[in-house]
Symmetry: C2
Subunit: 155 residues, 2 copies
DNA sequence: GATTATGATATACATAATGACCAGTGGAAC
DNA sequence: GTTCCACTGGTCATTATGTATATCATAATC
């Protein structure tokens, strides 16, 4: 269940240079190939490492504008709203958060003008009471999780 | 620059089964290996595919609690605050945003109690004026970008 | 209509990684 | 002391990889 130092080092290596295979990793880490393989299998089995899917850049795909929208949902409409939101490709992520049954959405758009259209499509649904949007200007700290593995290994 | 249908199919395949190599991908997509290789190279060169780093699950690492905090920053203290935030491992992501909050942060914690400690550490810094926290309860739509590639390919 | 690019295909080759084994070793737990 | 477990270091056949090549159809350019 817990990750140890070797796990953390392996994760870090894979994060920095995903192209290294099991072979190269074993050399870098100074352990046997079988060990790396076993650790990797375990990390994946434990769910710590979900996979190695491609990390896509919305900006490079033509969606340079990111925004966060909070939606206030009418009582009992949550399920329907979710299903609706799932159909909008520009919606990258949605969390339900504390508050009055609110949802926090991460959305992207091709431009600020397009953002308006996306939001219109997003909230054009019965059960969405009120919305509030923050446009992301800069992303000084992009999504990162590796340092958590280090932290978890240290404790 | 633009992605086409084949690119989208390739991305989708890689997303669903990251373990497939170039060889297997070419078989699945019904194109020559060299083609897949060329497409992959181009996608990476264009920045559409950033890489294939491991996708880590904070929950499996022992951080099941996610929260979003908006920080209001005193004028001129932005740079310092950023540097401070970067040192907190539980801070996974930070955006500067429009609106009353100046920065939006995604943070994780080991428990609701621990969340309080994390936030304390986070905001214990000169220049952070006001904070507001939303605790994420559920994540019905986890981060997804693949469908954007589809959308981009269709247009 | 002729000429160029472009991207896909097909093929080849040397190198290297992979998955699968297995016997041996050390430490920790019982 | 014995058992268990993870790590080691090695082999093996299979397969993928990076790289390079020539060919071909298509589309764009002049």
């Amino acid at each position: 269940m817990a990750v140890d130092e070797l796990d953390a080092r392996l994760i870090r290596l894979l994060d920095e240079e995903p192209r290294v295979g099991v072979m190269e990793a074993s050399r870098r880490l100074g352990v046997a190939r079988g060990t790396v393989q076993a650790r990797l299998d375990r990390l994946q089995a434990d769910g710590v490492v979900r996979g190695f899917g491609p990390q896509l850049d919305p900006e490079a795909l033509g969606y340079p504008v990111t925004a966060f929208a909070t939606l206030e949902i009418a009582q009992g409409r949550g399920r329907d709203v979710r299903a609706h939101l799932a159909t909008v490709p520009e919606l990258l992520e949605m969390h339900t958060v504390t508050g009055s049954g609110d949802m926090l959405c991460r959305i992207v758009a091709r431009s600020n003008l397009d953002l308006q259209h996306v939001i219109d499509r997003l909230i054009d649904f019965d059960g969405i009471v009120r919305t509030s949007t923050m446009i992301a200007m800069e992303n000084p700290i992009p999504l990162r999780v590796v340092q958590l593995a280090q932290a978890a290994a240290s404790s």
